[in-house]
């Protein structure tokens, strides 16, 4: 069975983004990816100048870093219901990578731990970007998602500092 056959649904926000991409002709998908690249939020001040607080996505061809915060880790909320916040840093010279980060930020930031962990691992292949950017380059988004889920799992278990 190919990864493309995997059946798990995308969370609502990410599904809407996937719908936006796949309804466009291939060429215009790049334009939409550029919008996500342009709209990737800046790192909040508390992360700026603190590379040690960020994790590098080493699978990407450009220097991209991310941080995951799981709120309510004091035990007031059940682990699966805690809210996940995502932060990314990627240079302007790497707009493809920024675009991938922008999609994941727009689609996953603010979801609960349970929702983030339920995102299917093949999600990056559901935006119709294979033809527009080549499968090779999509591996960067696969790696970002895997690292976000791993950090979310660790954060929910109280293994990340500062959360």
């Amino acid at each position: 069975m190919s990864v493309l056959d995997a059946g798990a649904a995308l969370p609502e926000g990410l599904a809407a983004i996937a719908q936006d991409f796949t309804s466009l002709p291939t060429r215009e998908r790049l334009t939409l990816l550029l919008e996500f690249s342009d709209e990737l939020p800046e790192l909040p001040e508390r992360y700026q100048g603190h590379p040690e607080l960020l994790e590098q996505v080493e699978e990407c061809q450009s220097p991209v870093f991310l941080a995951v915060e799981v709120e309510g880790a004091d035990g007031s909320v059940a682990a699966a219901d805690r809210q996940v916040r995502l932060f990314f840093q990627a240079p302007a010279e790497s707009p493809t990578t920024r675009g991938f980060a922008g999609i994941l930020h727009a689609g996953l930031d603010g979801l609960t731990v349970g929702e983030v962990l339920a995102v299917p691992d093949d999600a990056p292949f559901r935006f119709g970007l294979k033809e527009a950017v080549s499968p090779l380059r999509l591996r960067g988004m696969v790696a970002m998602l895997a690292r976000i889920k791993r950090r979310t799992r660790a954060g929910a278990a109280g293994q990340l500092g500062g959360g």
């Binding site: 790049l30 990816l33 302007a92 010279e93 707009p95 990578t97 527009a132 950017v133 591996r139």
Partner: protein, 295 residues
Amino acid sequence: MPMPFDETSTFADYAHPGRLVSTEWLAASLDSDRHGALVVVESDEDVLLYETGHIPGAVKVDWHTDLNDPVVRDYVGPERFAEVLGERGIGRDTTVVIYGDKSNWWAAYALWVFTLFGHPDVRLLDGGRAKWVAEGRPMTREVPTSAPVDYPIVQRHDAPIRAFKDDVLAHLGRPLVDVRSPGEFSGELLHMPDYPQEGALRGGHIPGARSVPWARAAAEDGTFRSRAELEAIYLTEQGLSPSDEVVAYCRIGERSSHTWFVLTHLLGFEHVRNYDGSWTEWGNSVGVPVEVGSP
């Protein structure tokens, strides 16, 4: 009708000075070209970089989606090549100037592919995208609307400048230039630093290869080093001679396109082939000889 050459004095020393243009020449030519004799092409590693802003009037050629066959690991055939160029307003007699990111790796790669099809007048912008941007020259997000032209169907002529694995096996014992980083050459790394995603099962280099990382041919601003500086590296230090048959390789043939350009067009070597299968083929092939250790 080809555009006049860039008469910049520092280019005059190179073997084929007509293969390079300066940012000054390009800026002036863009202002004066009213007849479409010149088409500027951006070729980047990042597939979206052109969209964030490019030299006014430049068109985009993506090394992966435009120049590689979508199924077979090979370049596009004559029909597709003619389509890619024709729809960008490039005819067989158009002067093409290519520039790109990463010190022109992908621009040199595109130039090498254009050469496989024998495009007569194809040049590199010395210093690439980074130099143009650093000089504060104009950039735009506006995509030009090219009037399509008929590019002829020309056969790809691989043999003179492209080596396949069997060619390299037959070439062993003669000069090979490995342009990867020292760690990749020694076998310590299975991939380029910061590029861990394209692995090989074995690390090291092709037996007898000399390690000359591509970046040694580039100055800090991404322009090519002077002919005297290049001769000191490739002739004096490495003992290569312009009459030698040389094969250059890297990981997938992009960095070695840069070195192929240096040896062929700047130093005048006549028999340089780029092994585009490079380490992603050699390091995964069964039974081929591999050497490990530092140079």
